[in-house]
Amino acid sequence: MSNNLLEVIDLRTSFDTERGNVTAVDGVSFSVAPGEVVGVVGESGCGKSVTAESILQLLDPSSTSYSGQILFGGDNLLRLSEDALRKVRGYRISMIFQDPMSALNPVFTIGDQLTEAILAHKRIGKRRARAFAIELLAKTGIPEPESRMRQYPHQLSGGQRQRVMIAMALSCDPELLIADEPTTALDVTTQAQILKLLIELKDEFDAGILFITHDLGVVAEICDRVVVMYLGEVVEYTDVHTLFDNPAHPYTRGLMASTPGIDADPEDDLPIIPGAVPTLHHIPQGCRFAERCALVLPECRQQTIELEVLSDDHASRCIRSAELATGASLSNGGVR
C-alpha cells in the first residue's frame, strides 16, 4: 500500500432507470494523499457528484450498483457492511454540499444540530459538546458564535450556513473532507473567504480534501492535483500547474478557453465547445468527446480510447495527447 489516504481504483457506478441501466461513473481511478486538495472538474452530467457520493455510498441502494475498489485506511469501502460504513461516514470522511440550506434542518437551531452531530461521534457530555460546538463555529470565522447557536438556519446568510456545515463536518476531525461545489451558490466575496477557511482548516487538521467543482478559477485557487471528468470517465489527471500550463486533452483546453479570462478580447467571440454533454443513454462509440472536439480525427471514433500516460503524474485520454502536451496548436484539417 502507498501512503495515500484514499485510493479509488476502477470505480464503476451504475443506476437502474426507467430507460435501462446507465453507467454514470465508468472506470474512474484517482487518489488523495493526506494534506492534499484534489479537484474533480467537469460540466454537469460528467459524473463528478456521483463519484463523490459513491465514496460514501450515499446513492439510493435499491437502484445503484458499484464495482471496483475504494481503499481508505486499509479497507475497501465497497465491501464494508452498512454498520461499518456508518462508522466511516461523518467520523472519518465528512462531506459538505452545494446547498447548505437543504442540508440543515429548518426546525432546529444551529446549536441543536451541531451538538447532535458532536454527540453522535464523541463520547462527551452535553455541556462539553455545546462548548465544543461554539469553539468550532468560532474557528470557521462566524461572528458571535454563542448567539448563532440559538438561531435557526433561515436566520443566517448563505455563507454563514456553509460555515455551519463546515463546522459540523469538522466536528469529528475527519481524515478526508469531500466538498461538492461548496462555494457555487455563494457570492464571490464569500467564496473567497470560504476557500481561505478550507485551506487553513486543512493545514490545521492535516486532512485531505476532495473538491468537486466546475469552476477552473476555484481549481487554480486551491487544488494541488486535478482530475478532469467527461461523461463518466477521467479524461485527464495531473498536478494543477501542468494542467494550466500544458493541458493535454482537448476537453480541458476547451473548458479553459471558454472561460472569459482577463486577456479575452471583448471584440472577439469566446471560443466555445459546441453542443452539450450527451446523456448516459447515448454514449458515443470510440472517444466520448469526439462529437464536440475541434481536433477530431476519423480514428477517434473507431476505437476505445485509453488513458495515455505522458509523464509521472500526467495522463490524458486522447490519441493526440503527446502532440497537445507540447503546447503545439493543432487542427484537424477540417474533418468533422
Binding site: Q191, A220, D269
Partner: protein
C-alpha cells in the same frame, strides 16, 4: 432617434419592502433599493454587479415594470423619439427580461411555439399569420428551427432552454433586455455559447442590455459600463475598463480581489 440619447433612464428609484404582522401592522421595513439612477444606451451593455441581497434584481424588475417602485420613475424612449414615463408596474413591450433559471421560467405544459405566442398576445398581437412569422423569426435568431417549436421545454438542455428564454424576449421586438444572471446556472462551455449569442443579437439589433451578474469576468468581457450595488445603493459607476483599472469604492476593491485567479502561479498566501 439619436444614437447618443439613452433608451431607458431610471430616476431616483427606491423600493421598500415591509413585513407585516398577523394583524396587518408594519413590523419591519427593508429598503431593498435606495435612490438608484442609471441610464441605458442603444447597442450598449450596462452591468449591475453586487452580492445577493444588494438590490440588483429588484432594480431590474422595476426597470422592466414587474414591480412598482416606492418612489422614483423610469422613462423609456419610444421609436418615434417620445418618452413614456412609468411609475407603476406595467408591461412594456420595449423592455423584456431573461431570467437566471431556464428550468423554472418556462411553462412545462406548453410547447415552445405556444410559450412564444403568449408573449405576443400579451402585447396585443392576434393575427395568426403574424404570430407564426414572428415566432419563426425569433427562434431562427437563436438558432432553432420550426421543428423545435413543436417540442416541450423538458426536451431541451439548460443552454437550449436559455436560448428559448432569449427567443421569448426577442419575439416582441424589444429595444431593451434585462438579463438577470442569464448564464450563472450554466456550465462554462454553454455559458460561452449564450454570451456569444447575446453579443451577436446586440450587434445585429442594436439592443440595450442591463446585465445583472456577480461574475466579474463576464462583466469585463461583455459590458461597456458598470454599476456596483451595495446595500441597495449604487456605490460606484464607471466605464468597464476604468472600473477594473482603478476601483474607487472599498466594496468594489474587495469584489475585484475576491475574483478567483486564472492561473495557479498567481496564488498568494496573503490573499484576503
Amino acid at each position: 432617434m439619436k444614437s447618443d440619447q439613452p433608451v431607458l433612464e431610471a430616476h431616483h428609484l427606491s423600493k421598500t419592502f415591509s413585513t407585516r404582522s398577523f394583524l396587518g401592522r408594519t413590523t419591519s421595513e427593508n429598503r431593498a433599493v435606495d435612490d438608484v439612477s442609471l441610464s441605458l444606451a442603444a447597442g450598449k451593455t450596462y452591468a449591475l454587479v453586487g452580492e445577493s441581497g444588494s438590490g440588483k434584481s429588484t432594480t431590474g424588475r422595476m426597470l422592466q415594470g414587474l414591480i412598482t417602485p416606492t418612489s422614483g420613475h423610469v422613462t423609456v424612449r419610444a421609436a418615434d423619439g417620445s418618452t413614456a414615463v412609468q411609475t407603476t408596474a406595467r408591461a412594456n413591450r420595449d423592455v423584456q427580461m431573461i431570467f437566471q433559471d431556464p428550468y423554472s421560467s418556462l411553462n412545462p405544459r406548453r410547447r415552445i411555439r405556444g410559450i412564444l405566442e403568449e408573449s405576443l398576445r400579451i402585447v396585443g398581437e392576434k393575427d395568426p399569420s403574424v404570430l407564426r412569422t414572428k415566432v419563426d423569426e425569433a427562434l431562427n435568431a437563436v438558432g432553432f428551427s420550426d421543428e423545435h417549436a413543436q417540442r416541450y421545454p423538458h426536451e431541451f438542455s439548460g443552454g437550449q432552454r436559455q436560448r428559448i428564454g432569449i427567443a421569448r424576449a426577442l419575439v416582441v421586438n424589444p429595444k431593451i433586455i434585462i438579463c438577470d444572471e442569464p448564464v450563472s446556472a450554466l456550465d462554462v462551455s454553454i455559458q460561452a455559447q449564450i454570451l456569444n449569442l447575446l453579443r451577436k443579437l446586440q450587434a445585429d439589433l442594436g439592443l440595450a442590455y442591463l446585465f445583472i451578474t456577480h461574475d466579474m469576468s463576464v462583466v469585463r468581457y461583455l459590458s461597456h459600463r458598470v454599476g456596483v450595488m451595495y446595500h441597495g445603493r449604487i456605490v460606484e459607476e464607471a466605464n468597464t475598463p476604468d472600473l477594473f483599472a482603478a476601483p474607487q469604492h472599498e466594496y468594489t476593491k474587495r469584489l475585484l480581489t475576491s475574483v478567483p485567479i486564472h492561473h495557479p502561479s498567481l496564488r498568494t498566501s496573503a490573499k484576503a
